[in-house]
């Protein structure tokens, strides 16, 4: 009489014990669309491995502070952390992350895009597996472009962008030629002005780690940016970040928007965007005659803090979440437009994915970015829209605050650059450079 349920229980117990013991993983992650989608699919992972997952979902800045505090104090709150390209090489160098050098053959680590793999490695060892990767590109309104009588080239210059932005601007109808990030913060406006400066030939530091804000390239880049935004930008752009610009663009209030390639799937989604069928894409611009474009490179990646007791289970999760089969799982449930992009070569060779309008430009943008050689003049650092040293986040946030004050008309470009130079020099001295 009891045989059946007993048998079932035994079978279940056997099933669980076969794949090592079932663990509960605590994972810290960022609250963006792709990550939230992953949380919805956790059941698939639990069904396959028996491990349970507890999510700690946080806003980007808060996540960064929580995981940084946790890893520096050896808090051990998390078994897996979602970190970016900025943290990975620094933490890997400090020995705080478990090296991901023994991933299974079926995971196919060589399928990761080379730029992503390089950016998430330290000294040739992979320390975090990319969940998705992004670069930046131009998203523009094809209808407004046509109305302005202009044709967007595949690889435009800043000078063309400025001219096109002025032509598209229609203040009476609340259409701004161009929407760009001006919000203070190293990952917001700081990232954008850094890549813009790169594409004007500027750099953060010279080979001796001397700050370079006193150089003419920075003044040129900043003056250009401020001039263009004053002509054609939305009011109050000094407080606009990714989300603010996304909603402006979706409401049809921007002619062009240069931002993360992942935004392409949001602006072409007819459920959220009023301009979904009128969006074109182009490579991020450079200034005429400068070899570097203003593409950045970023990946959100999963890493295991050294010292976790659940390393084996954590690796299973990472393999599950960043694998090809996860991409197929998302595609089968939500469609190919919603799979996490930018991590694997094979995705861009997939016939199903080639039809996605922004796939080609996303790949081209990622390939155009080189984190090991981000600027025209040589630099001692790795990273395009950031400098992979621990002090950078603090310095760049303060520098971007000075720049935001320029955008708001509270100080001149010269004043801001002088302050940026002083505070960067000061902070680098404090750090012992």
């Amino acid at each position: 009489m009891f045989a059946k349920p007993l048998g079932a229980a035994t079978a279940l117990a056997l099933l669980l014990s076969s794949g090592a013991s079932a663990e509960t993983l605590t994972i810290a992650t960022v609250n963006n669309g792709d990550m939230i989608r992953m949380q919805g699919l956790t059941a698939d992972f639990t069904a396959k491995t028996g491990h349970e997952v507890e999510w700690v979902t946080l806003e980007e800045n808060v996540l960064r502070q929580r995981v940084t505090t946790d890893i520096t104090t050896k808090g051990g709150q998390f078994d897996i952390m979602t970190i970016g390209m900025y943290e990975t090489p620094i933490w890997g160098a400090n020995g705080w992350l478990v090296p991901l050098d023994d991933l299974s053959a079926e995971y196919d680590v060589d399928d990761l895009l080379p730029a992503m793999r390089a950016g998430l490695s330290y000294d040739g060892t992979l320390f975090a597996a990319p969940f998705y990767g992004e670069s930046s590109m131009i998203m523009y309104r094809t209808d407004l472009m046509e109305k302005a009588g202009l044709d967007m080239p595949e690889a435009p210059t800043w000078q063309f962008i400025r001219q096109a932005a002025a032509a598209m601007t229609d203040r009476d109808n609340e259409i701004n030629g161009i929407c760009l990030r001006g919000k203070a913060g190293w990952g917001e406006g700081g990232a954008f002005i850094t890549v813009t400066a790169n594409s004007f030939g500027a750099r953060w530091f010279d080979e001796d780690w001397k700050a370079q804000f006193d150089q003419p390239e920075w003044a040129e880049a900043l003056n250009f940016f401020v001039g263009m935004m004053t002509e054609s930008g939305p009011p109050g752009y000094a407080t606009n970040g990714f989300n603010e610009n996304l909603s402006l663009f979706q409401q049809g209030k921007c002619g062009m928007w240069i931002d993360a390639t992942v935004a392409a799937s949001f602006v072409t989604n007819p459920d959220d965007s009023t301009v979904a069928d009128k969006v074109g894409f182009a490579l991020a611009p450079n200034s005429e005659g400068v070899t570097k474009r203003s593409n950045w490179l970023w990946a959100w990646a999963l890493a295991i803090p050294a010292g976790t007791k659940k390393e084996a289970a954590a690796k299973e999760f990472i393999e599950w979440a960043t694998s090809n089969s996860y991409i197929e799982l998302v595609a089968s449930k939500e469609g190919w437009a919603n799979v996490p992009p930018g991590a694997r070569v094979s995705l861009y060779e997939n016939a199903n994915y080639k039809d996605i309008p922004f796939a080609k430009m996303t790949l081209a943008s990622i390939l155009a970015a080189d984190p090991t050689s981000p600027t025209v003049d040589p630099v001692p650092y790795v990273g395009i829209q950031f400098v992979a040293i621990p002090e950078f986040a603090g310095i760049a946030t303060e520098v971007s605050q000075e720049f935001s004050a320029v955008y708001a008309g509270q100080q001149s470009v010269e004043e801001a650059l002088a302050k940026a130079q002083a505070l960067t020099t000061d902070a680098m001295e404090a750090a012992g450079y």
Binding site: Q65, P234, A238, G394, I395, Q401, A408, L423, A430, A431
Partner: protein
């Protein structure tokens, strides 16, 4: 007989509470002091040895220090001014017998229960946004160019948001104080022909003095530490970096525990200076 015995027992009984309170205060304080003399960079390997007063010197000589003190004082002063003045006026209004008094009072108190982050987000996105905000629509309705609140009038915006939150608190305290005022006194003054303004100035306001000092004291303690409103709206840009926010930047964004701790010690000193001033003023009022 309240003997030595009884007193000893009483002390023994109180000891756990006192020790707990002391620990609560002393442990963080001494840790802050300890770290402030160290070069402590978590991302560079942690504790890198003693550095004497270097952190203190560096914190004060940084170009951000004096502007941050100024911003702190403006925010605290601005919010105190607005909440006390409007608080007195609102309390006067709410003290009138009106229809639906209970509901009106609850509505007035409501903002106090909204979390600071939430209220800051609501203000930022729904009121002060220069494109979609309510205030922008209002300005456009009258044909004016919308103000970009958070960058053009950044400190004022912060003061506004925080005042909105703390006004209910001031109103509540002042209203209860007003209700304790003997109405016969006011009637007598009215019969003697004292005009409303004089009644307010010579009877109501002196009666409220003590309540106002309590409001000022309690609010100052909390206002010196406001953080969420700045973090959510401007992120410390446009001159809204208060001392609290500067310490946050030093500790968490720059990952420099030593420097931030030195800033923490300065914050304690600033709070004490403000407190001493206030106590002087308040002390006079409370003695009467």
């Amino acid at each position: 007989m309240a003997t030595q015995h009884a007193r000893a027992t009483a002390r023994l009984m109180m000891a756990p509470a006192v020790i707990l309170l002391l620990g609560w205060m002393l442990v963080p304080l001494s840790m802050t002091l300890y770290f402030s003399f160290k070069r402590y960079l978590p991302l560079r390997g942690g504790d890198l040895g003693w550095v004497g007063l270097e952190n203190y010197v560096r914190f004060v000589t940084s170009s951000a220090f004096w502007p941050s003190i100024q911003a702190t004082l403006i925010v605290v002063g601005g919010v105190l001014l607005i909440t006390v003045v409007l608080g007195v006026l609102l309390a006067l209004l709410l003290n009138q017998p009106i229809w639906g008094q209970g509901i009106v009072r609850i509505l007035v108190i409501a903002p106090f229960f909204v979390m600071p982050t939430v209220s800051a987000l609501v203000w930022k996105n729904m009121f002060m946004d220069p494109v979609n905000g309510l205030l922008a629509h209002l300005w456009k309705f009258f044909g004016a160019e919308p103000i970009v609140w958070l960058s053009d009038a950044s400190l004022f915006s912060i003061v506004l948001i925080v005042s909105w939150q703390w006004l209910p608190f001031a109103t509540l305290i002042l209203l209860t104080a007003m209700q304790s005022l003997d109405s016969e006194q006011l009637e007598a003054a009215e019969m003697d022909g004292a005009p409303p303004l004089s009644r307010f100035g010579y009877i109501i306001l002196p009666h409220l003095a003590r309540a106002i000092t309590v409001v000022v004291l309690i609010q100052t303690i909390f206002l010196l530490a406001i953080f969420a409103e700045i973090f959510v709206t401007t992120g410390g840009a446009f001159g809204t970096r208060t001392l609290t926010y500067l310490i946050f930047q030093r500790v968490l964004e720059s990952q420099n525990i030593g420097l931030g701790s030195a800033g923490g010690v300065y914050a304690i000193i600033l709070a004490n200076i403000v407190a001493i001033f206030l106590m002087r003023i308040v002390g006079k009022n409370l003695d009467r």
